[in-house]
Symmetry: C2
Subunit: 62 residues, 2 copies
């Protein structure tokens, strides 16, 4: 698999939120994600962009 | 990059919608996507799950 990281777009600046994610999905009104090491996070926002070229998933807190 | 395909979850069955996507993002109330060959599609639904392990992006028409 490809190493993909999740970033938060915060006022136009991308901040790293979780590295090496295996799954990302909307759940319970938030964005749930889990990485290859079993770490899980919920982010209160929305999916802004998924780029398979740069291996980035960008979330927005708007 | 990794070859990732977009599927539509239709009543529990995954149907292939677009192969080799490079970017997927919400736009104009729909889900916009483009693939490596320049093909573009808009899907009227939402992102259900992004799996970087199986290289699938699953959309829902719910």
């Amino acid at each position: 698999m490809c190493e993909t990281n999740v970033y938060i777009d915060h006022e136009g600046k991308e901040e790293l939120y979780l590295e090496n994610v295996s799954v990302v999905k909307p759940a319970k009104g938030k964005i749930f994600m889990k990485n290859l090491f079993g770490e899980e996070k919920f982010f209160d926002g929305s999916i802004k962009e998924i780029s398979l070229v740069t291996h980035k998933i960008i979330l927005s807190d708007d």
